[in-house]
Amino acid sequence: MPTWERWCLQWGYMSSDTETLENFTEQEYKYGFTVDIEADELPAGLNEEIIRALSAKKDEPEFMTEWRLRAYRKWLEMESPEWAFIEHEPIDYQALKYYSAPKQKPQLESLDQVDPKLLETYEKLGIPLEEQKRLAGVAVDAVFDSVSIATTYKEELSKAGVIFCSISEAVKEHPELVKKYLGSVVPYTDNYFATLNSAVFSDGTFVYVPKGVKCPLELSTYFRINAQNTGQFERTLIIADEGSSVSYLEGCTAPMRDENQLHAAVVELVALKDAQIKYSTIQNWYPGDKDGKGGIYNFVTKRGMAEENAKISWTQVETGSAITWKYPSCILKGDNSVGEFYSVAITNNCQQADTGTKMVHIGKNTKSTIISKGISAGVAQNSYRGLVKVLRGAENARNFSQCDSMLMGDKCGAHTFPYIEVDNPTAQVEHEATTSKIGEDQLFYCNQRGISTEDAIGMIVHGFCKEVLNELPMEFALEARQLLAISLEGSVG
């Protein structure tokens, strides 16, 4: 099967590989050991015992432990996908640690109880919690290594009936919601990385907005990866009940590192009838140094399900990570549902990005819009991979896709892999693509007006991405602008 088709089909099935299975079973026996539940972290390695220990540490109900184990057993049968336009060394899953708590007491009531050193780190990253708190209408649920350490604005949200907590908490406090919706959009059998995540997810965010409620605050979570060798397996589940709406932003940064780190997150969005979910991402993980050493491997599965008249909108600004593998998707199941995908992906130096979206039109009169802007500098590779699929019953489905690439220098690459499958003759599908280069003449023009080269690049790139950046919540637009400039520092001249 061509690799491309494999990607398109990758909704719930991956071929099994008995050899891998045997390898893993052998290892399980070989590395059999008992685990100290009181320890701050679990030893490296992955087996059923580790998963049970992880689940026990998190004090999870039985159904959760079982779900994790089913996912783990499924994962043993799967192989790592090979179709993306990326290259990396094989990942040794047995060398990773699957649980590590920060060196402090969890369950804090206020920021005063947080380790000041930790707060200092946040400030260095330009995302001070204190300032975040002051930012009008932003609630922050900071995830630092696996355990949530600070949650703010919870009260105001609970007044509106909105549940905004860590997924670990939700598993315990709202098991009925978790049981009903976890895995309903991205099943535990979905793909190699999503299945691994289902088995070992450490923590993440849970949001439930009740019927008819417009969430009064912009929700936001900052993720960071800190402890050595800890793979991060975030799990996010957002449910917007009928007629409700919510906007959520995740922003990620990571400190300097020397080893490749795996990040395999899963995000599931459920937009019930007439509901709206806007999900924005600013991703700025450590991309590795100039020679490609270090950096985060970012293999993410993000998908939303839109019921009748519902709308799901993904906006992403991807500037970090050594490898980005991510296709935020919309299943437009209900009639008149709408899916949107706005993306800026910047790759510099040795970074590789293979990102895009899937829009699956199932309901009648469903609409989707895709705007993708890829920027490559250095020797980086940047690919857009998109699927627009119109099923037989999707009368009058409409899609518009625009994929623009910008190249800086002559050693980088931009690739576009658009894929369109239409099974209904009433569908209208449009695709536009352009490739451009930041020219010496553009830079000289700016210089001649007194504008420095750095400012000129920032300005030209911002102009190129404007349609996407305009989709970001106001508070983050400026941050995104600075991020673009920082990401491309030193890429010209």
Partner: protein, 250 residues
């Protein structure tokens, strides 16, 4: 203002400027005329500081400083403005934002504080009025989808805003119809009146621009150097006799 001595420059391996001399005093308007390939645009680019052009000899002093020692942005902030023959498009970059960045870079260079957005907007509206420029143009991206005439007008507008000490116009008249030519000339003459010490270097192929922007000196450039200098009547003589009658000194 500007002293160019024995300037030699090349692009890739080709020698283009072969000992070029010129002296411009404050308030003077100089015109350089020459056929295609005589090195006119190279001169403009070398003065602007474009990297692809390598200076192999000579010196250029601008307001007493060594011009060749400065980056292009530094030259601009010191007061040198180059109106481009082919202004480039910057898609998605609003003119107002572009100009504010340029304007404030210049202020910062002079040790002044950046001008707040509101005051800056008032300033550009005032300048637009001065040059009879449609303010709607300011809401668009830099040169994106502009007609040839609009691009050239936008160059003159930027020149008015940045208040340079020396304005170099590189074939600003090329591709302009007579109406656009008049608007551009009106702009240049307004700037000249606004600051009598401002100097202009007008590079052109044809005499017709010089009917509107009257030069104090006209220089004929052939094969990388000036072969004859004179008053404004030299332009008319050129028009009559053609470039063929001027041969480079052996």
């Amino acid at each position: 203002m500007l002293q160019i001595k024995e300037l030699q420059a090349r692009i890739e391996e080709k020698e283009i400027l072969k000992g070029f001399d010129l002296d411009i005093q404050p308030g003077e308007v100089h015109a350089i005329m020459g056929v295609n390939g005589s090195g006119k645009s190279t001169l403009a680019n070398v003065l602007g500081g474009r990297e692809e052009y390598e200076v192999t000899g000579g010196s250029v002093s601008f307001l007493g400083k060594d011009l060749l020692d400065m980056d292009p942005e530094e030259r601009a902030r010191e007061g040198l403005f180059l109106a481009f023959q082919y202004p480039v498009e910057l898609p998605g970059v609003l003119i107002s934002y572009f100009l504010r960045t340029a304007y404030n870079a210049k202020r910062e260079h002079a040790g002044e504080k950046p001008l707040p957005v509101r005051e800056f907007n008032a300033l550009i509206n005032e300048k637009a009025k001065l040059l009879e420029l449609n303010p709607e143009l300011l809401k668009r991206s830099v040169n994106e989808g502009f007609s040839g005439g609009e691009k050239k007008r936008n160059e003159i507008f930027q020149m008015a805003l940045l208040e340079p000490k020396l304005c170099i116009l590189d074939e600003t008249d090329s591709g302009l119809d007579i109406d656009a030519l008049q608007v551009v000339s009106h702009g240049v003459n307004t700037l000249k009146k606004e600051d009598p010490s401002r100097s202009f270097l007008v590079i052109t192929h044809y005499q017709r621009l010089l009917n509107y922007v009257v030069p104090d000196y006209v220089h004929v450039m052939i094969d990388g150097k000036i072969v004859k200098s004179g008053g404004k009547e030299l332009a008319l003589e050129l028009e009559e006799k053609g470039y063929g009658s001027f041969q480079p000194a052996a």
